[in-house]
Each structure stands twice: as C-alpha cells, then as structure tokens.
Symmetry: C2
Subunit: 220 residues, 2 copies
DNA sequence: GGCGCGGATGAAAGAGTTCTCATTCGCCTT
DNA sequence: AAGGCGAATGAGAACTCTTTCATCCGCGCC
C-alpha cells in the first residue's frame, strides 16, 4: 500500500483528498504546515506528496526546494490557485512532477497520483465506456448513440463519464457536483440541471431519467 | 485498397480531401452533385462516403436518405457548416455514421475514415509522443518537459502534435496552417506566429527554432 | 382540481480561447 | 551603419464554454 503525504492547511480540502485517496486504497497522512511537512518528508517514509503551495508559514514552494536540496526524489504533485498558473509554470522548475489548479475534481488528482506511483505497470487503459447503445470515447471526448456521434464540451464529458461509470445508479446533485465540479461547489447551484439538459439535447432526452427528489440516473 | 467516394461541390475542398486520402493509400472518386453521387453509391462499389450536406440540386441529406432507403449500409461521414451543427445533430438520424464541421483539419477526417473502415483491427494506439526530453500525452492534452507539466489549449495541442510528428523538420507556415487549421486558412494570417509564441512560453522558447524565411523547427 | 415544490428552460453575464491587427524588434543585406 | 524585411509581441475583438438567475412547467399531495 502506497503512503501519501497530504500537505494542505484548509481542512475541507484536506478531507476531500484524504477521503478519496483512502477509498482508493492509499495510506494517507495530513499535515497543515510546511515545517511539519518537511520533517515528515525527510524521514523518507512516503511514496508521494500532494503539496499545496499556499501554506501559512513556510510555503509549499520553500518546502519543495528544501526537500529537493536534500536529494529526496519523492514524486510531488503541487496544488495551486487557478489565477497563479503563470507563477506555477515558472515555479515548477523547483522540482515538482505535476500540478493541479484549484478547484479540481478528485478523479483528476487520482489519475495523476496513479501515474506517478506506477509509471510502468499501467493496466491497458480503457478508452471507451459503454452502456447499451451509448458509448463514450475517452480519448476524443465524443459520445456515440445509434442516431449520431456528438462532440462534448469538457463539463458535458466529465458528467457523462460519471454517469457511465455508475450506469443504472441514481446520482444526487451533490454527488455529481462533487465529482464533476470538485470540492468547491455551491450547494445551491443548479449547474447540474443545466448540464443534464445539455447532455439530453445531445444524446437524447430519454437516456437520463429524472428521479424526483433524488437526482438523475442513466440507463437501466 | 479501400475506395472512397467524395461528394463535394467546392473544388478546393474536394481537392484537399482527395489529395490527403490518396496520400494515405485510399482510392478516391470525386463527384460534385447529389444525383451523380446517388448513382455511384447504388453500384455498391465504394467502401465509404464523405458527403457534403450543402450540395447544389439534390442536397446531401436527400442523398443520404435515398441511399439508406435502398438498404445500402456503406459508412457515411457527412460534412457540415459549423453554424448548422444543430441541424446536423437532429439530421443525423437520417443515417450518417459520423460528421465533421467545416472547416476541419485533415488529420481528423483521416482518423474518422480509418475508424469506420476498420472498426476491429486498430493498432494499439500511440498515446504519448516524444522528442528528447519533451513528451506529449495525446489523451490528456498535456505536455511535459523536465521543468514542468503544462496543459495546452486545443490549438496549442494540435500544433505541438504536428511538430512532434515531424521533429527535426522545418515546417513552413503554410504547412502548419493547412494541418492545424484545415483548408480554409488565410495565407496572410500570422496565427502560426502567435501560437508558436504561446507554445514557447509553455514548453520553453529554445525548443522551437525559427528558420528565417522558411518556418519553424522543433528539436534536433 | 388546485397548490406547492422540484425540475426544466432561456437568457445573459463572466471567463478563457482564438484570431487579427498594429507596432516593435532584430537579422541580413548593402 | 542604415534600411528593409521577416519575426515577435501586446492588445483587443469575436466566439465558445461555463455559470447564474429568473421564470415556467408539471408531478404529486391535499
């Protein structure tokens, strides 16, 4: 079991990451400040680090440099605010292996974690998801139904992927928000409704059923 | 050798498609109106059709319905104007297998043609392109250099893919325009310059060399 | 059958991407 | 060294995608 250190001071986000990683079989430890993070890392006891750059006290970037200066080569995935992408790109020269801009959806972080932990033995990747006569090509972001092939936008794609990976299950708006929009969603928003409509227009209205008071369900 | 019927009334576009398909080993026949197209198709002599919907006289959609009403199951890829996507999606119920919105880049058409001709024996797809210490993940649209991992926009991605598939070669602005922007480019535009700059910002300026009076070259 | 609440819908604001244009930079020739 | 031409650059217009908001619809309870 791989051990992952999560360096993040916002409890809500730390919990979001920890819960998801544990559910996928990883061992996790959360720390909220840079100094502690550095101590833990120098023990060499972790297989990967998820590091927020915006820490109080010793910031993530300092931690990263300190770790690398000790020739510790543990893979590092940094988390950064969306509007500081430019700093990030410049700053990555400090030795991170990958990055995510906040807010992010958990699946994307998981994919990056897996990539960094097992660069070699990747299982032959699934590139097409199916349910009945509906299919989704993960590489080209196109969905296919008997009547047509349709291009999807990023959000439509992420949502249809979620529906296909849980075909037949009722998904609540909150579940959908948290998986497709990440941890930073407004619970009062009706984006999900809006995107369900967009998807229905493209793949056919009947394919996504409304379960009143519960959420939406694809197929079955 | 598969035989492909191209139904397109604009000479420039027909030539663009025919040239590309021939260069990739397909046999091609071009016709410019719907009635002739229908005659040819009913011979059953073609393995695939590229069909423009905006034909003079009997339009592409009528041809499609006529063909299908005769139970001819040849794969059909339709071409349609960008602003009529909605008609397209609705109209596809007439029996097309796939579609492209104009203007399109040739590689995308080629990929769709190949997919329709050989649904089974797809070679294990390449998902990562490399040149030296630069790599590009085709599935996630992310480029990686030792200093960083960077997300690319659609155009940046298409252009870097082209550079990587022709690493070490000098590519003229016209070549780049025709491959990345499709047949419908303005020869006087400097989009290529602008996107070269964008790419250089993301993957490092030195990786793309300017060859004065000729074009650009990646690596080597 | 009427009412109330959850869901559907259209429109429009905000953000990122794409593309053009005008200007500046700098290599190469003379 | 000066001039000309090709390339680099910054700014902003146009477009698409994303999101919010206000309003309309219709299912299910009374």
């Amino acid at each position: 079991m791989s051990k992952i250190l999560i360096v993040e001071d916002e409890d809500r986000i730390a919990a979001f990451i920890e819960k998801g990683l544990r559910a996928n079989g990883f061992g996790t430890t959360v720390v909220g400040d840079g100094d502690t993070a550095l101590d833990y890392l120098l023990t060499g006891d972790f297989d990967l680090v998820v590091l927020d750059l915006g820490l109080p006290g010793k910031d993530g970037f300092s931690v990263l440099r300190a770790v690398r200066s000790q020739h510790v080569t543990v893979p590092v995935i940094i988390l950064t605010a969306r509007d500081s992408v430019h700093d990030t790109v410049a700053g990555l020269e400090g030795g991170a292996d990958d990055y995510m801009t906040k807010p992010f959806r958990f699946e994307e972080l998981l994919a990056r974690v897996r990539l960094r932990l097992r660069p070699g033995d990747r299982a032959p990747e699934v590139t097409v998801l199916r349910d009945g006569d509906l299919s989704l090509d993960l590489r080209t972001r196109r969905a296919q139904v008997p009547e047509a092939v349709v291009d999807l936008t990023a959000r439509e794609f992420a949502m249809l992927e979620l529906f296909l990976r849980h075909a037949g299950q009722v998904l609540s708006r909150e579940q959908i928000l948290s998986h497709v929009w990440g941890y930073d969603f407004d619970p009062g928003s009706n984006v999900v409704d809006v995107y369900v409509r967009a998807l229905r227009r493209k793949i056919g209205a009947k394919r996504i059923r409304t379960v009143r008071g519960m959420g939406y369900r694809l197929g079955a």
